[in-house]
Amino acid sequence: MRGLPLPFLCAILLLIGGYLVPPALSTPPTSPKASVDLFVATDCPIANACAPEIERLYQAYKTKGVDFRLVFPDRDLDEGEVRQHLADFGLNVPFVIDRDHAFVKRGGATVTPEAVVYNRLGAIAYRGKIDNRYTDFGDRRITVSEFYLRDALDAVLSGKTPAIERTAAIGCLIEQ
């Protein structure tokens, strides 16, 4: 291979790239290894109680190649309200207002807060709770002992399937 001229090598790579290399490998090296849609609301107390953990996860995983996105599945929300909310809760995570529920449908989210983790192939690797902070409405664990989203991300980053792929998220229901 060492003797081959560079243009020739590139041509070969381009040719086989489209057929043999899985899509994830063909994407540029800056592309994420995983992405997370976090479904939240500005006025859901359960989602809001998770804000500090969401920001921590964002800060911890953005440098590891995980794309985070807050998704507000609310037709009546405007961008100014969201920016104010993010400032109030100290959130620096990029956001989108999902007015037509495209993100909701893609991820199959039903409540806020709910996390959907996509692997590099775009398949859902995990969907559900961020952690076990809430066991029901009003039943908040004093000690958080399960970190489902963190564990799922660590698994995906090391090329594995998360040990727990689905949990039933608890929170405010996403209005259809």
């Binding site: 006025d43 107390p45 100290g90 066991t135 029901d136 409405f137 009003g138 000690t143 209005e175």
Partner: protein
């Protein structure tokens, strides 16, 4: 007759069917339920996390509303209304829940605005009108964005020049999203002032001050109420008001600077309100000691009323591990009445429940309370994983448990006897204290303890130097010459008495 009954049955059945088929609309069917049960808190300036004041706001949260009313998380109300009739019950009828479910299933139709009930005239600001005395916390307390729930006591000096009687206390938090509830205590000895701010933040934690009574509490969702009739709670001059506030971090750092409004009675009450706390000492007398993993720990206590009592309200207190609470009354004839049944205790909603009608309990009635706890991992409220042994204590991770029945002697002539009996109920705490003292080697440490209590160093224990809760019983038992001071021979008697307790407890 049979034919008539059948006809009635048929026509009512067809009416029901007709009603079932008519479309449920917001304005005609849902607004009355929401306005009457939800909007009181779910409106701007109140504690509900989002407003529910019109079609758009209710429709935007319809699925969540359906979910929380179906399992009765909302409106918050934990006493079983089937066995006791209370005032201002915040609970939906099954038919109302069905209506909400049908409305959501039908796609949340708005309907004709003309069919809506008028929007209620909610009172803004002080719910009971302008208070007689308004106090605000001197400094704001910072509640972090997250972490454990916080229990913090704040001292509000009242500086009252004379004794007062209190009809109600209303609380206006500055950060409603984090103030979960607040209990009002009185401290006549300035012990709380000494603890205030010791850790560099306003207030102090733990119920470690001298409680000289209380003025009720505030729980969101409860409309502030003045005590019925001419009843009022004593507020002696020189007392400090202690707000014992429970905070829920909300995800956002907040600063709380509570304002309190106090409503005084014009005159002393004709009858003194007595409290019967079972077990006394917020459950201390029951010697709560829950092994780790224990799923059904139970304490029980009972007390026989010496005179006819008219009971007005009831409330419970416990911490995270408590699961159920029940207070019953067995009348002399054998009839049993349930005074409070909380099948699913939630520390978040420590309410005071007012009986719909005052409950008359004849002399000889046995009042009994039963409280259960779950100290296993299956209890999501368990503050410790893995579970640890939990004993009675003043921190929220310790446990407490008692039910307090409040009422008056039906016959004014019996008031003194009732007072004496509630006092002797409190004094039952002594047996347990003696046990705890013995276990703690108090007998051996008695000289050091006396020295510690003896604030002015005169070798005597004046009334003011004795712990408030023990003051009455200690003097009653030991102060032979009645000078409200324990001298060295009386302190010697205390030692002898502790030794007797030690023997009685079979050490």
């Amino acid at each position: 007759m049979n034919r008539l009954a059948l006809a009635c049955l048929l026509s009512s059945a067809s009416l029901l069917t007709a009603a079932d088929e008519s479309p449920v609309t917001f304005h005609r069917d849902i607004a009355p339920i929401i306005y009457a049960n939800c909007t009181g808190c779910h409106r701007p300036g109140e504690s509900g996390p989002f407003p529910l004041t019109n079609y758009a706001e209710v429709s935007r949260r319809a699925l969540t509303i359906e979910r929380v009313v179906s399992d009765r998380y909302m409106p918050p109300w934990h006493a079983n209304p089937e066995v006791t009739r209370f005032l201002d019950v915040r609970r939906l009828e099954p038919e109302e829940i069905t209506l909400i479910e049908r409305w959501v299933a039908a796609g949340k139709p708005e309907g004709d605005p003309d069919s809506a009930p008028p929007y209620p005239a909610f009172t803004e600001g002080w719910q009971l009108g302008e208070p007689d005395l308004v106090l605000t916390m001197k400094d704001a307390y910072e509640v972090p964005a997250e972490g454990r729930d916080i229990y913090r006591n704040f001292v509000l000096p009242l500086e009252l020049p004379e004794d007062k009687w209190v009809k109600a206390v209303e609380l206006r938090p500055s950060a409603r999203s984090v103030v979960h509830h607040s209990l009002f205590f009185l401290d006549g000895a300035g012990t709380a002032r000494k603890l205030d701010g010791k850790d560099g933040k306003p207030g102090f934690s733990g119920m470690t001050f001298r409680m000289d009574g209380g003025l009720g509490g505030y729980v969101p969702g409860v409309t502030p109420k003045k005590l019925p009739g001419d009843l009022a709670r004593p507020l002696p001059k020189g007392s400090d008001l202690i707000l014992s506030t429970h905070f829920h971090p909300s995800g956002k750092a907040e600063r709380e600077q509570t304002t309190v409004g106090i409503y005084f009675a014009d005159a002393p009450p004709s009858k003194k309100l007595e409290e019967l706390q079972l077990p006394p000492g917020f459950g201390r007398s029951a010697g709560i000691d829950i092994p780790p993993g224990e799923k059904n720990y139970r304490i029980e206590d009972s007390f026989t009323l010496p005179v006819d009592v008219e009971a007005h309200f009831v409330s419970g207190h416990a911490h995270y591990l408590c699961t159920t609470m029940r207070m019953s009354a067995t009348l002399p004839g054998g009839e049993e009445r349930i005074l409070l049944d909380i099948p699913d205790w939630d520390m978040d909603w420590q309410d005071t429940y007012y009986f719909a009608e005052p409950v008359v309990l004849p002399a000889g009635t046995v009042v009994r309370s039963v409280i259960t706890y779950d100290n296993s991992t299956e209890n999501p409220n368990n503050p410790t994983t893995p579970p640890v042994r939990v004993k009675w204590g003043r921190e929220s991770t310790d446990e407490m448990g008692s039910i307090t029945l409040s009422g008056v002697a039906l016959d004014e002539g019996d008031a003194a006897r009732l007072q004496l009996s509630t006092r002797s109920n409190r004094a039952r705490l002594f047996a347990q204290l003696g046990k705890e003292l013995r276990q703690g080697g108090v007998l051996e440490r008695l000289p050091a303890i006396v020295k510690n209590l003896d604030a002015n160093g005169d070798g005597l224990l004046q009334e003011s130097e004795l712990p408030q809760r023990l003051r009455g019983p200690l003097l009653q038992r030991l102060d032979e010459n009645g000078d409200k001071t324990l001298d060295s021979s009386e302190i010697e008697d205390l030692k002898t008495w502790l030794e007797t307790l030690k023997k009685q407890n079979g050490a």
